[in-house]
């Protein structure tokens, strides 16, 4: 894998500000910090990889975690590890191909075969032409009613000449699959039409994809790879919407539960990302039943369950900062520790707090080192921002979460996890707590006092 050339840690405010960005790190980036131990010693990447490495048959696994907890960074690292162990990895972000506001499982299956075809093409792997043509003509006929290959070729050729020019001539099957997934992503009417045609063909569709995989595998192995792995990132961004008011069935249920069998029917190692709220819904047991192999990436622990500081997690976040910024030069002693604690172990909020502190320092004239007072003001901004995302009716429930360190399996608690008001940690078992910024809100404090008075 590639190594990024990395600048030394920033020594002035402007560089420091630009060193703290909220983007996932590519694998191999020297700024990556191993947070396994602070995630409760669950090396999620290791566990996912081991299952794939140790199984000769295909494995289907789920991974889940909070937004901004480092999931994409970890999945890129997983892809890298598997590639180094000679797996052919097809990694893609679902939302690049699919409209996450309106996704059905057939879209995902079509996207998988398109991505596989593209990866094979880029790696110079070709499969039996007769078989490949058979699969192609199946799609052409079912979706567009094209039976004549020459006519189809003319049609696709015209379209591709008008549209995007590819630097290398693409095989016809690639053009066809690109056309199908492109229309699903952007064309509302034609999307409906394609789905209508795909839905009754679901088993033949899965069969065609598996045929393709089976035809590819020997060729893949000829190239020196040991097996094929799909990693589908960002699928957890599928928009949560109630589809049926009576049964409360949601878009999440429709994909991961109603079509679990279809998602599992592909004959390859696959890792799907799942919204974390599903693990806290009433359907959690059903989901675990359908996909026994699932992993949840917890937050980095900066506090223990009893509220005492978790030195190890704090050190880790500190090293995240040190890889980017010359911390001793820019911040007064103790400031970064303070910010780690207030981030709740959420990487994205930690990075955000660093940015806010630097921005405030700059606005105040840019005198170094930046002091605790600035950091406190940065945290105040974060508190105000969380004040917006918490509806009033949540505060009573949040006090319960803070007391019991547990969340209930209902819609409100699901929403709290989804909006990062409640964070999840691991000590060999899962526990939850309210985000430190939310704990500072006056509404929370009032609710807390009320409970204390009652007993």
């Amino acid at each position: 894998m590639f190594m990024m050339s990395m600048d030394p840690p920033a020594t002035n405010l402007r560089d420091a500000y630009n060193a703290v960005l909220l983007e996932p790190l590519p694998s191999g980036d020297p700024r990556w910090v191993d947070c396994t131990s602070a995630r409760g010693d669950t090396d999620v990447v290791g566990l996912l990889a081991q299952r794939i490495e140790g199984s000769s048959r295909s494995t289907i696994q789920l991974i889940s975690g909070h937004r901004g907890c480092g999931k994409s960074t970890e999945l890129l690292r997983l892809a890298d590890r598997l590639e180094r162990e000679n797996f052919l990895v097809v990694y893609f972000a679902a939302d690049d191909d699919i409209d996450m506001g309106d996704l059905v499982y057939t879209d995902l299956l079509l996207s998988i075969i398109k991505r596989l075809e593209r990866t094979l093409f880029l790696k110079g792997i070709t499969i039996d032409e007769r078989l490949s043509r058979g699969i192609m003509m199946w799609f052409a006929e079912v979706i567009y009613g094209w039976k004549d290959e020459a006519k189809m070729e003319a049609e696709l050729k015209a379209e591709f000449e008008l549209g995007l020019k590819s630097p290398v001539p693409l095989p016809m099957i690639a053009k066809l699959l690109a056309r199908i997934t492109g229309q699903i992503k952007t064309g509302h009417e034609i999307r409906k039409d394609i789905r209508l045609k795909m839905d009754p063909q679901i088993y033949p569709l899965i069969e065609r994809i598996n045929e393709f995989i089976h035809a590819a595998l020997p060729e893949i192995k000829k190239k020196g790879y040991c097996d094929l792995v799909f990693i589908i990132d960002n699928l957890d961004r599928i928009v949560l919407r109630v589809l049926d008011e009576e049964t409360k069935r949601t878009t999440h249920d429709a994909l991961y539960l109603d079509h679990a069998e279809q998602l599992k029917a592909l004959d390859a190692h696959i890792i799907y990302t799942v919204p974390i709220s599903m693990f806290y819904s009433l359907k959690a047991t059903q989901l675990a039943g359908a996909f026994p192999n699932y992993r949840i990436l917890p937050m980095i622990k900066v506090e223990e369950m009893d509220g005492s500081a978790c030195g190890h997690g704090i050190d880790l976040l500190n090293s995240v900062a040190k890889k980017r910024i010359d911390v001793d030069l820019i911040f007064e002693k103790g400031v970064v520790d303070y910010l780690t604690e207030k981030s709740g172990g959420m990487l994205r909020d930690f990075v955000r707090l660093l940015g806010y502190t630097i921005e405030l320092g700059q606005a105040r004239g840019g005198k170094l080192p930046l002091d605790r007072n600035l950091a406190e003001r940065a945290f105040n901004s974060l508190i105000n921002e969380y004040g917006r995302s918490v509806p009033d009716e949540f505060f009573g429930l949040l006090v319960d979460v803070a007391r019991t360190k547990k969340v209930k399996n209902d819609a409100s608690h699901q929403a709290m996890l989804y909006n990062l008001i409640v964070l999840e940690y691991m000590n060999g078992y899962r526990w939850c707590d309210v985000h430190p910024a939310v704990r500072e809100l006056s509404e929370f404090k009032n609710a807390w006092e009320k409970v204390k008075k009652v007993g």
């Binding site: 500000y17 939302d95 928009v239 940015g355 921005e359």
Partner: protein, 529 residues
């Protein structure tokens, strides 16, 4: 840091650039000082823009458009020579924020030297306070496309309520933020806008642009009140502001919004026992019902308003209710009742020295006589009304009485004279951007050209009138223009098309219970034979 007044020498270029109407500009100047608290936030914002070398997403909370103009001008000033601050104004609801901003940038070709920061205003129009907000769903899913589309800071300005909705309903997008800048309401701006709202009761003669600026400022004021959680005394002010906003929205032909505003203000006034406030809200609702040609409903509202005005001895309110009752009865075809009400209203206007009311009552008496078929008497009254309107500089009134003089001369068979008056009236309506009356005088010109034998010219006018009526939701105007077109079509021997058009007109007349419905029905029956 204390705020500093804008330098005199800055005023001209800044004014040209921010493009404010006269009211907006004077408010802007009145409140040019920025409080220390907001100044500090502005420094933070400037430091984000100064330091950022790649895409950064920021949110700015500001309720008041006048204040946001002021902050924008100051920010631009602070960063002059350091960064190119590009302003993007969204003029209506959008489906995709990213696409809309890109389109605007493309349209304005806002290319400049050096670092570019984009400030987006007006996205709140895509975020209603209640109900579905599909633009937020779209935003939540498309966040990954933002860094691909923008290479520098993007700051989205929103009022309080809209920012809260965004934080809750587009959490993935919100999670990407690198800064939230919450400007607090400025007391100076609040009182400047309050002064503007309460000083000057009549908005109808202002230009459309001016009305929009005022509506925006008042909406900002309401949001500031809300954020400051003001108490009982201020509730009275809030109700008054809501009514003023209702008046402007009515004038801007935004009836559903105006109805909401009057209902809200009525409830507040009711809760604090402010009877005059309740009556004023009722009158506002009545006025909209008249415009929407729902006359029986209008009469209900004005009768309630009249009873309250008499109970509390509010002569002006009484006169206003009487005059409008007269209008409603006139529209229903009951000219005698209308003359009676307008007569009473006229007496009150003269008694309290209300020139504007006096002019309106005289003109309305003219209308009633016109309906009775006495065009000569109508002309007498219209001329008196016209004289008062020009005397007090009431452009809108002037236009209306000129046009009505046209109608009266047309009834007397003097088509040339009628056309002259209509043209004058049309010109004024266009001048003050009064869409409703513009449509009416276009239709009248159509009516006038028809007997002159120029049915092509007539159809042209009717078509223009129809377009305006449909745009502003004026059902009566729509039906009248269709009627006019139908008659012209018939004259051109296009009977089939004439019947279809007439049927459409009849449908609308029936829906709005217009007395014209029966005439229309007879005409259609005749044509079908």
């Amino acid at each position: 840091m204390p705020g500093k007044k804008l330098k005199k020498s800055d005023e001209l270029p800044v004014k040209a650039e921010i493009g404010l109407s006269p009211t907006g500009w004077s408010l802007f100047q009145d409140a040019a000082e920025i409080s220390a608290e907001n100044q500090e936030i502005l420094y933070r914002m400037a430091s984000l823009i100064r330091m950022a070398e790649s895409f950064r997403l920021g949110f700015v909370k500001c309720n008041q458009p006048i204040q946001s103009r002021q902050l924008f001008a100051r920010l631009k000033d602070m960063l002059a020579g350091e960064a190119n601050i590009v302003r993007v104004d969204l003029l209506g609801p959008v489906e995709s924020l990213r696409r809309a901003v890109l389109q605007e940038l493309e349209r304005n070709k806002a290319e400049g030297q050096g670092k570019k920061a984009i400030l987006v205003f007006g996205f709140e129009q895509s975020i209603p306070s209640k109900g579905a907000a599909p633009a937020l769903d779209e935003l939540n899913q498309s966040r990954d496309n933002f860094p691909k589309s923008f290479s520098g800071p993007l700051l989205i300005w929103l009022p309080d309520y809209a920012l809260t909705r965004l934080a809750r309903e587009a959490p993935d997008f919100w999670g990407w933020r690198s800064g939230v800048f919450e400007f607090v309401p400025e007391a100076r701006i609040i009182s400047a806008v309050e002064r503007m709202a309460l000083q000057d009761a009549s908005v109808s003669s202002l230009s459309r642009e001016e009305k929009m600026v005022r509506a925006g400022a008042l909406e900002g004021l309401v949001r500031d009140y809300h954020e400051l959680k003001r108490g009982e005394r201020e509730d009275r002010a809030l109700a008054e502001v809501l009514r003023r906003l209702g008046d402007i929205r009515t004038d801007l032909d935004d009836y559903p919004q105006a109805i909401q505003l009057f209902l809200q203000s009525q409830e507040i006034s009711w809760n604090i026992g402010d009877k005059k406030g309740v009556a004023d809200s009722l009158a506002g609702l009545g006025k909209i019902r008249i415009i929407l040609a729902e006359y029986s409903k209008a009469i209900e509202y004005y009768e309630q308003a009249l009873a309250i005005a008499r109970e509390i001895g509010d002569r002006r309110g009484e006169g206003n209710a009487l005059g409008n009752l007269g209008n409603a009865y006139a529209a229903l075809g009951d000219a005698r009742k209308a003359i009676d009400y307008h007569g009473q209203a006229l007496a009150i206007a003269r008694e309290i020295g209300d020139r504007r009311g006096e002019g309106a009552d005289l003109g309305n008496l003219g209308n009633a006589f016109f309906i009775l078929g006495d065009a000569r008497k109508a002309i007498e009254y219209y001329e008196q009304a016209l004289a008062i309107a020009s005397g007090i500089g009431d452009k809108r009134g002037e236009g209306i009485w000129l046009g009505n003089l046209g109608l009266a001369y047309a009834a007397l068979g003097d088509t040339r004279k009628a056309i002259e008056y209509y043209e004058q009236a049309l010109k004024i309506a266009q001048e003050i951007d009064d869409r409703r009356n513009e449509g009416i005088w276009l239709g009248s010109l159509g009516n006038a050209y028809y007997p002159l034998g120029d049915s092509r010219q007539a159809i042209e006018y009717f078509k223009q009138a129809l377009k305006i009526a449909q745009e502003i939701g004026d059902r009566n105007g729509e039906a009248n223009s269709l009627w006019g077109q139908a008659i012209c079509l018939k004259k051109n021997n296009d009977l089939d098309q004439a019947i279809i058009t007439a049927e459409n007109a009849l449908k609308i007349f029936e829906q709005i219970e217009s007395p014209n419905a029966s005439t229309m029905r007879e005409l259609l029956a005749k044509w079908r034979r």
